[in-house]
Amino acid sequence: MSIVINSVSKAFGTFQALEDINLEINTGELVALLGPSGSGKTSLLRIIAGLESADQGSIFFDSENITGITAKERKVGFVFQHYALFRHMTVFDNIAYGLKVRPRKVRPGKKDIQNKVHELLELVKLKDLSNRYPAQLSGGQRQRVALARALAVEPKVLLLDEPFGALDAKVRKELRRWLRRLHDEFQISSIFVTHDQEEALDVADKIVVMNQGKIEQIGTPEEVYENPQTPFVYDFLGSVNLFKGRLNNGKLTQGNVNLEIPDWAGSDNMEAVGYARPHDISICRESAGEGTVPAIISHIHLVGPIVQIELVRKGTNEYLEAEIPKEKYRKLGLNVGEEVFIKPKQLKIFTPEDFII
């Protein structure tokens, strides 16, 4: 089922949680709503589910306007942040609940409910735990029960609020891969809320980056990571190095450093900030004149194939971060406290008007 969100706004008292949100989600997509806390992502999810009502705007499932339809009638699967399992029911009864509460005319028979629940228990690999109570399960198991319970009513839309927020790192990774497979298998449209960019980049087809009640950028993981459209997106999706200065004739100047920015050849003496990811920073021993920035190595993280190097820029004392392959690191023979020269291989330029939100 496709979902269309049409200029939705929502305020809680004087706090503007959502401001004129427009978003389209195609059938079968797995979409991540990514943003810091307070960005409005959970409010948006709850409005789609019908648990909260929008002050303005409308929501369509396929071509049907469901803005005025209650949560009970929307038939979405919703997985809550802290699972919200029914604490006095067993795992079996939790999963069967959505089928049991149907009006008598459309309620499946006892046997059918049993079969369906067992099928789902098998799917979430909790067959042996069907008589346990939620309190007797681990976090990951509870999460899977919550998913099975939401899937029991065969929703066309699955909404997940911080689905892996309360789990430890290893279980998280496993579960999100599993969610991806599940989503593909059930051919539903799924939206999940997260503040973890790695999670969003890892599983989503499409990422919606939100900040202060507005959408900053919509795109595939590659698009938002490789080509962030706003400084916020650049900053939120990973570590970043900032190079402030004045832009003049394709050169970003600060002190006696001149960085070449060929894309901005026509620029004329404007303030600008260059953004570069740590893996786009190269380190060399010798200065290459004005195109390189002198810095002192302050820390070296040696774990894994990529070496993370923290540096302090000379003159401005700004903090910089670089990631280089281990081989390169060995070749250079770097040590803490040494002076080196860095060069951003690629700089994304944002001018002051990009920062106006």
Binding site: A49, G50, L51, T70, A71, K72, R74, K75, V76, G77, F78, F80, H82, A84, L85, F86, R87, H88, Y97, G98, V101, R102, Y133, P134, A135, Q136, R149, A150, A152, V153
Partner: protein, 293 residues
């Protein structure tokens, strides 16, 4: 080598730190003070009630609790409790639901109002009803014209009892329902259940122990209420006397053995209530530990 340090700590008995904090004699002193206090102010009066009740022999005791006036008082007391407790349960659930599941203006005022019966003297509560429904009261003329008796009749006693016992159940439910939040109800609704089914299958099972506990407290107070009921009852023997009023009348007539006999019956009811309360508490705690472990 470093691993030895934490291992060494686990060998220390867990209780040692507590024992070190409080010397033995302090423990004993505190326990004896508490027990003496309990004995003087609770056990002794309770024993006295039973001793006095049987002072003139078992025959007088039995006569005292089986004569028609006593029986009528017992019946009326039970009737009042049976009306007041379910009504207050209903009100308590609705009030707690409204307060914990919805956001609305005047919520704090409602919470304060629920506590009002605790703050007002029961005698004043009784007087309020006399002023409202008595022959000189606000609705007095209309009630007289339609031949409806509230004051000095059973309805007045029921009303006064409901007023006095109103906070017990709501007060028990509100903190629990606040702690449990609304997400289970929301889950139920997204799964297609309506409001009634959600209440019946999700909310009620979650609050049942607190509800029962509140009902028992409410029941105990409904049976024992004296002040408010005394004002509205009119003390008509065999008609509008509840057990506490009956005891007072007997005592006023120097029938000490009979008064204490009925009092002993009420004490037994109270003890029985406490036993049920403890069982429920124990059961509730066990349930909680299963569900929240």
């Amino acid at each position: 080598m470093g691993g030895n340090i934490p291992l060494g700590f686990t060998d220390t008995p867990l209780g040692s730190s507590r024992e070190a904090a409080d010397p033995k004699w302090v423990q004993w002193l505190l326990i004896s003070i508490a027990l003496t206090f309990l004995g003087l102010f609770l056990i002794l009066p309770l024993v006295t009630v039973f001793v006095q009740a049987f002072e003139k022999g078992i025959a007088v005791y039995l006569e005292a609790i089986t004569n028609p006036e006593a029986l009528s008082a017992i019946k009326l007391t039970i009737l009042v409790a049976m009306i007041a407790v379910p009504l207050n349960a209903l009100f308590g659930i609705m009030a707690a639901w409204a307060i914990t599941k919805f956001q609305f203006k005047g919520k704090n005022l409602l919470i304060t109002l629920i506590d009002l019966p605790f703050a007002v003297s029961p005698v004043i509560a009784g007087l309020i009803f006399v002023l409202l429904f008595g022959s000189q009261g606000l609705f007095g003329k209309w009630l007289f014209a339609n031949d409806i008796k509230i004051i000095f009749a059973v309805p007045g006693i029921v009303l006064a009892t409901i007023f006095v016992t109103l906070p017990f159940i709501a007060r028990e439910l509100i903190p629990l329902m606040q702690a449990q939040g609304t997400s289970e109800e929301e889950a139920s609704i997204t799964l297609g259940a309506g409001g009634w089914k959600t209440f019946w299958y999700v909310t009620l099972p979650n609050i049942k122990w607190a509800l029962l506990y509140g009902m028992i407290l409410c029941n105990a107070r409904a049976i024992g209420e004296f002040g408010a009921v005394s004002v509205v009852s009119g003390h008509i023997r065999g008609l509008t006397n509840t057990m506490p009023l009956h005891i007072e009348i007997l005592y006023g007539e120097y029938q000490f053995a009979a008064a204490f006999a009925v009092a002993s019956l009420m004490s037994l009811m109270a003890i029985f209530t406490l036993i049920i309360k403890s069982i429920l508490e124990w059961h509730g705690k066990r349930q909680m530990s299963i569900e929240n472990h």
